[in-house]
């Protein structure tokens, strides 16, 4: 194995109109790792994940995926190269069934893997199999999140991007989902880049973590290091977690 990270984000600036949302980000994700990005609302976490997928594209800097420059590659091509995302707000196709949503996820893969992958996703989230023919829009928040992750997994990604999978979901279900994320990482060796506001859960799960403040990386380290860092505790962990 080379030591080249699977994802290397260097000096990335992203703008929304004139507003600079990312102000020179450097992040690396190595193969097989769970890397988490924590930060408060509006720090630019979602923007960074979307920039990796080319929507919006970075105006400055470079994003390398498996050594290939994807900074200016169209979104659908990036997905075909092996990056999948469960985006902010889950974005389930609400008028399609659970099964159809998973079928959509498998769009970029060889159909011969479909049944095998479907079985894996159903095993990971048995609820999805129970709800197979139900329309996506009628699922609960937690089920939609499972579907969003399942849909992303159906494309056999080599890098999985997860945007706030715990948002607006009951604590018990959050634990289930984090358990599933861990399982995918340990059993399948899936590389995961996780964005979270729920810093406690995310840091416990992650091998390494970055803290994003105001469009810049303010701190980085292993999950354990950041968990025990007093500044992080004060800013992100105190108060009920």
């Amino acid at each position: 194995m080379s030591t080249e990270p699977i994802l290397r984000i260097s000096g990335v600036h992203t703008y929304y109109g004139k507003i600079e949302a990312l102000k020179g980000i450097d992040v690396e994700v190595n193969e097989g790792e769970i890397v988490t990005l924590i930060g408060s609302n509006g720090a630019g976490k979602t923007t960074l994940l979307m920039t990796v997928c080319g929507d919006p594209q970075a105006q400055e800097g470079q994003i390398l995926f498996e050594g290939k420059d994807i900074t200016k590659v169209p979104t659908d091509q990036i997905v075909r190269m092996g990056i999948a995302q469960s985006p902010e707000g889950r974005r389930i196709f609400s008028r399609m069934s659970v099964y159809e949503n998973l079928q959509m996820g498998a769009l970029v893969t060889d159909p011969k893997y479909f049944n095998e992958d479907l079985a894996k996703v159903y095993k990971l989230f048995p609820r999805l199999e129970e709800r197979r023919d139900q329309r996506g829009g009628t699922l609960s928040g937690g089920e939609q999140q499972m579907l969003a992750i399942g849909r992303a997994l159906m494309s056999r990604p080599r890098l999985l991007l997860l945007d706030e999978p715990s948002l607006g979901i009951a604590p018990l279900v959050v634990r289930q989902i984090f358990q599933a994320i861990k399982e995918v990482n340990e059993k399948e060796g899936m590389t995961i880049f996780l964005v979270e506001q729920n810093a406690f859960h995310a840091l416990k799960l992650a091998h390494r973590a970055y803290v994003l403040v105001n469009g810049k990386v303010a701190m980085s380290g292993t999950g354990q290091e950041l968990l025990s860092n007093p500044e992080i505790r004060a800013a992100y962990l105190e108060g009920g977690h």
């Binding site: 659908d76 997905v79 075909r80 995302q85 196709f93 609400s94 159809e100 079928q103 996820g105």
Partner: protein, 304 residues
């Protein structure tokens, strides 16, 4: 009773034409949220291409009616689809991401431009065509009134039904259809699972135009005359059909088309033919007042 059934037969034929055009309106609205006002002109171009291909096949000495019909169908579908694709590429794609009214204005401009293009290149006079499919049979006679179905009407129904079935299959069961629906529901997410959104939008225009071409072909065969202006009113009515059925809904467009066809036929038969358009649009107003989403339109019910 006999008179009623005769009007039903006529109305269904008319409805097939409107339904085929309405699908193009409803699909484009579904995917980019815009009314493609040039779609009526696409239909008109389909009708012209039907006549042109008829003349070309005639010159080539093809007399077999099935081959002639098939040839006209294929040629007008292919070339009209190319027009649909080009219109999207030239007039709408550059405006994507612009303010909402921009593509709408561009569509009206495109509509006028296409009308004038055909008027200049084909002449302003009415274009006649000899009846290609002749004859028919009497269903029954009652009180001295004979109910007739022409062979052409049967051809039209079979063709329309086959296309609608095929099209429904394409949208609901195939990967292409799923990509189309995905773009309709959430374009950003669609691209995040690897759908080429621009290509899917192009495809929507191509499919809509191909179906409009069939409507154009049917008009040419059924009425025997067309001119560069036929697209305007037919387009308006097909648009009405799409709204009536619930814009964005495919079965709605088909249902709306049939309804408009039937309303027109019955109004012309039992009231005054001069006011048939008033009746059509009047009913649209009534439906919109009492059921703003149309008959099969879907109000969004989503859990957040």
């Amino acid at each position: 009773m006999a008179y009623f059934i005769q009007q039903l037969i006529n109305g269904l034929t008319l409805g097939a034409i409107y339904g085929l055009i309405a699908i193009g309106y409803t699909m484009v609205y579904g995917i980019i949220g815009m009314i493609n006002f040039a779609h009526g002109e696409i239909y008109m171009i389909g009708a012209f291409l039907a006549i042109i291909s008829y003349l070309v096949f005639g010159d080539m000495g093809i007399v077999s009616i099935p081959i002639l019909l098939m040839g006209m169908l294929v040629i007008s579908m292919i070339f009209t689809a190319a027009y649909g694709w080009t219109v999207e590429r030239l007039a709408y794609r550059p405006l994507r991401g612009s303010f909402r009214l921009a593509p709408l204005i561009s569509a009206i401009g495109m509509s006028i431009a296409l009308q004038n293009y055909v008027q200049i290149s084909q002449g302003a006079r009415v274009k006649p065509i000899q009846p290609v499919v002749q004859g028919g049979f009497q269903l029954f006679t009652q009180g001295g009134f004979a109910v007739q179905i022409t062979y052409l009407q049967i051809v039209i129904w079979v063709l329309t039904t086959a296309l609608m079935v095929g099209f429904t299959y394409l949208i609901t069961q195939t990967s292409l259809g799923r990509q189309q629906r995905a773009c309709e529901q959430d374009r950003k997410m669609a691209s995040l699972i690897g759908v080429n959104v621009d290509r899917t939008i192009s495809l929507t225009f191509v499919l809509g135009a191909a179906l409009a071409a069939v409507a154009g072909l049917i008009t040419t065969l059924y009425y025997g005359v067309i001119d560069f202006y036929v697209g305007f009113l037919a387009g308006m009515k097909a648009f009405t059909a799409a709204v009536l059925g619930g814009i964005g809904s495919l079965p709605g467009a088909m249902l709306g088309g049939l309804m408009i066809g039937l309303i027109e036929a019955f109004w012309s038969a039992y009231f005054t033919i001069e006011y048939k358009d008033v009746a059509t649009f009047g009913i649209l107003v009534l439906v919109l007042i009492f059921k703003p989403t149309g008959f099969l339109g879907k109000p969004e019910v989503e859990k957040v």
